[in-house]
Symmetry: C2
Subunit: 148 residues, 2 copies
């Protein structure tokens, strides 16, 4: 953990903090230069998905208010909804205590998941059995036929 | 993504799924053998923390109902609360669409964060400024003096 995040452990809501640019310098990116970002629907609290951001994606997200991830499979910035039309508007963002994970509060248009489901977390597991917890809101064929 | 998770994209809540052991075989662990696990307080919806699990940690968590992570810094299983007393009881667990992230619904005793805060996500960031969003429930010195 960076010394900056160590210092922030004792900070309070009344304290004036370093600028965001200094925090982004102190973030722990992994060896691919990425940080995991959890997207939560801001009003319902539903956890929609987890994806990855590099610093460019994070800066663009903060600047534009539209969530932009880094696609590991495509090796480039991925403006959520650019293929499906199902965008995420940023409501707020927070780093965790050791500066290596992001939590985004978002307004998700339609489904977050490429399967057409609202959330990506639909495969429930118990010690022995698994089951599907939700059905698609939209057929994914329709989702990816439609351009935003 | 494994072919099993690809098949599950079209599964419904009525379908009988393969046993959990088959799903754990199909999970995409990273090159350290780990999968990220998001812990959410089951009733309030608050996202408490994100940590990592290896397969052993995940199997133990499902079997015992007490959340066990893998500590990357200590290089061993980490039964949440073993130092602080602030345990997590598992309510339910779900894998995401491509089988590389876990979402845990938990009952968190006291603070989840090592700083004594309820959640680890307390460093809010905007394009320019940052601020602290919560204060410790318990002094961390007290938390780690106390043995469970």
């Amino acid at each position: 953990m960076s010394s900056l995040f160590k210092q922030l452990e004792r900070a309070t809501p009344e304290d004036t903090l370093p600028p965001t640019s200094a925090l982004l310098d102190a973030v722990t990116y992994n060896d691919q230069g990425l940080i995991p970002a959890i997207a939560q629907q801001h009003d319902s609290g539903e956890v929609l998905m987890m994806a990855w951001m590099n610093r460019d994606a994070l800066e663009e997200t903060l600047r534009t208010g539209r969530v932009c991830y880094y696609s590991r499979s495509r090796g480039k910035l991925w403006r959520k909804g650019e293929s499906s039309g199902q965008q995420q508007q940023l409501k707020s963002a927070a780093l965790d205590c050791d500066g290596d994970t992001l939590l985004l509060q978002v307004e998700q248009t339609g489904p977050a998941c490429h399967t057409g489901r609202r959330s990506c977390f639909y495969v429930a597991i118990t010690p022995t059995r698994a089951h599907i917890t939700s059905e698609p809101l939209i057929d994914p064929a329709e989702l990816y036929g439609q351009r935003s």
